[in-house]
């Protein structure tokens, strides 16, 4: 066996936009029209677009490759082609070994069957044999954490339970190539952790993994290398950190100023000591320059900024007013500039900076840029969570216990 697990060579995929003929009642008149009058088969033939263009990449056995890209970049199409649900228009693809996809982990469920029956149904759909499922049954049930409801029809399950059971089955397939598409949005925090652990152990056991997610943090944690897709093309394949930075630079296009607003944020810049920057080390200092321009005379303004994490959770906010600066007034055409200095005691991850012009006394927001910028925090300290408390281990001691307690 070669050491290549997956390879795509100059792969293209074309889709048709818009409605095609999906009933004979529409198709037959169109076809006769074409025959007798020489008409084109409507405009549908010409309305094509390339979902993937010239995709080439290779994944070695046991490697984990992340795929990132904005919505519509072609990630899911690429995965569907890899898992043979769709056929490429042009190009070649090689998959060595059993491929299993963690995409929509509950697709195989039937609501009227019990959890137990669905484990067998979904398991066989994912390519496991009955005997294989039987031998892993206890593990699957334990992993899902819904032992008590296993004989209840899954339509009575909460959506979290539903998804957890689906993931548990899918996670026990033992493929040689595992494709993971945005499944971490499932379940609560504890379950997500368990999923990540499972994926990590799958990688450790030598399985090749393709990991697609919008959660940059998860991608960087799992995959050393990543591929960036944009508009169906490969922009780069490199170290995940570098790819993540490139990805963020795609997103940071500030909206053009809206003509209607009496006052608007005309510029936002995040920089370090040397100039504009989007990646920082945890604990570093950053400066945010904001410029506000007014079209009309306007009173009592303040600039508010906040950071939110990828799940839209606000982790920090402040404003000029809170920092003790009096509200400012602007004349038509006048501008206001301010700079915030921030110490980024944030843990590793991706954070969005949102800026807003706010008038506190009447509680009115005039303009908001969401996100005005996105920053990526790298960390050398191994910490998790939202903040970095810069932990240091100052003392570590093992007490020798009396032997009778030592029953581990």
């Amino acid at each position: 066996m070669s050491d290549v697990a997956l390879r795509m060579e100059h792969l293209y995929k074309k889709f048709r936009k818009g409605e095609t003929y999906n009933s004979l009642r529409d198709l037959l008149p169109a076809m006769t029209g074409k025959m007798f009058r020489g008409q084109e088969l409507d405009a549908t033939v010409r309305r094509e677009f390339w979902a993937l263009q010239d995709i080439s990449f290779e994944v070695k056995r046991g490697e984990a490759l992340g795929i990132i890209g904005r919505n519509g970049a072609g990630k899911s199409t690429a995965l569907k082609i890899l898992s043979r649900i769709m056929r490429p228009t042009k190009g070649r693809m090689v998959v060595n070994g059993r491929l299993s996809a963690l995409i929509e982990v509950t697709a195989g469920f039937h609501p009227d069957l019990t959890g137990m029956e669905n484990i067998f149904l979904h398991g066989t759909i994912l390519g496991m044999s009955k005997r294989e499922i039987q031998s892993k049954l206890d593990q699957i049930i334990a992993f899902s954490g819904i032992e008590e409801f296993i004989d209840t029809p899954v339509k009575r399950y909460s959506s979290g339970m539903y998804a957890r059971l689906g993931f548990s089955v899918a996670a026990h397939v033992d493929p040689e190539v595992l494709v993971v598409d945005e499944v971490l949005s499932v379940g609560d925090f504890v379950f997500q952790q368990r999923c990540m652990d499972r994926i990590r152990s799958v990688i450790k056991s030598g399985t090749t993994v393709l990991f697609v997610s919008h959660n940059l943090k998860a991608v960087t944690e799992i995959c050393p290398r990543a591929m960036l897709l944009d508009h169906g093309k490969v922009l780069m394949i490199d170290d995940t950190d570098a790819v993540a930075r490139k990805y963020l630079s795609l997103g940071a296009m500030p909206d053009t100023a809206d003509e209607e607003k009496p006052v608007y944020i005309s510029k936002v810049r995040v920089r370090d000591r040397d100039g504009e920057q989007s990646t920082f080390e945890s604990g570093e200092k950053a400066w945010v320059d904001i410029e506000v321009t007014a079209r009309e005379a306007i009173d009592k303004l303040a600039v508010v900024i906040w950071f939110k994490d990828e799940s839209e959770y606000i982790i920090f906010h402040t404003s000029t007013e809170r920092l003790g600066f009096a509200p400012f007034c602007l004349q038509p055409g006048g501008t206001y500039r301010c700079t915030f200095e921030l110490t980024l005691n944030i843990a590793h991850g991706t954070f969005h900076l949102v800026t807003e012009i706010h008038r506190y006394d009447i509680q009115k927001g005039y303009d908001r840029q969401d996100p005005a910028s996105t920053i990526f925090i790298g960390s050398t300290t191994a910490v998790g969570g939202a903040v970095n408390c810069f932990p240091r281990l100052v003392e570590s001691e093992t007490a020798v216990p009396p032997t009778q307690y030592c029953e581990v």
Partner: protein, 261 residues
């Protein structure tokens, strides 16, 4: 075709599971349970009895038990053909999620639909068996024809089912066309009547590939005779062709399913 058939064989457990699911769900959801499986055959038998009675009145020939037995014997497989083609028609569109998201040989869906209906057929057949025993129809060596004829019918249904399921995935109105054919098909198939009632022209109706199968079943069960071998071979060839053509066509279209559904 060989590679595809081998792959299908590899996924035989899945075929079994999907069939099991279809049966289980059908019986779980309906209050009538097993009665559901014999409802349609009973209705067909009853309408057949009415038709035969009317015919007996007109021709002044008495209505014999053997005639009623013959109608009953043909109704049960006819009900199977109608319901399996009806179910295959929706078998792909009704499993949208699985068609779009997970790879496996998709012909499993029409096949499972036919097999689930075959289960109903066996339930109905048991009821029919009790009926036949009660009217003392007797038995003969020709009963060995029954599994052969049933197997050919199943093959025919799977072949047509693969074509119909793929067609209705691409064209949503196919199911209405199919429905019309299933409703009026009974008049072009010797279920209520016998070929012999139509005299010489009866053989034209035998061109309907289902006719020799139903007629054969009634001949070997009710009249203890061998079915017409030539007409049976015609049906067999037709079924094998529909299966092969259906399979090749289905496999050819399969890669486009996910984007067209």
């Amino acid at each position: 075709m060989r590679v595809e058939l081998e792959e299908l064989y590899k996924y035989r457990e899945l075929l079994y599971m999907i069939t099991y699911r279809d049966i289980k769900v059908r019986y779980k959801q309906s209050i009538m349970g097993f009665f559901w499986a014999i409802l349609m055959p009973i209705l067909i038998v009853m309408s057949g009895v009415v038709v035969r009675y009317a015919y007996a009145m007109v021709s002044h020939a008495p209505l014999k038990t053997a005639d009623i037995a013959s109608v009953a014997i043909k109704s049960v497989p006819w009900a199977f053909i109608v319901s399996s083609i009806r179910f295959t028609c929706n078998s792909l569109t009704g499993n949208r999620d699985l068609v779009v998201k997970i790879y496996f040989p998709k012909e499993i869906f029409p096949m499972a639909a036919v097999l689930a209906c075959l289960f109903d057929f066996f339930v109905a057949s048991s009821a029919l068996l009790i009926f036949l025993v009660l009217i003392k129809i007797g038995w003969s060596i020709y009963l060995l024809w029954v599994p052969v004829l049933v197997a050919t019918t199943v093959l025919f249904c799977i072949g047509i089912g693969m074509i119909v399921s793929a067609a209705s995935l691409f064209f949503r109105d196919v199911k209405y066309i199919v429905e019309v054919f299933l409703t009026f098909g009974i008049f072009f198939t010797p279920v209520f009547y016998d070929m012999r009632m139509l005299g010489d022209r009866g053989k034209w109706l035998m061109l309907n590939p289902v006719a020799p199968l139903l007629d054969g079943l009634s001949t070997c069960i009710a009249r203890h005779q061998s079915p017409d071998v030539h007409w049976f071979l015609y049906s067999l060839v037709f079924s094998l062709t529909s299966f092969s053509v259906g399979f090749v066509l289905f496999k050819h279209l399969e890669p486009a399913f996910a984007e067209s559904i």
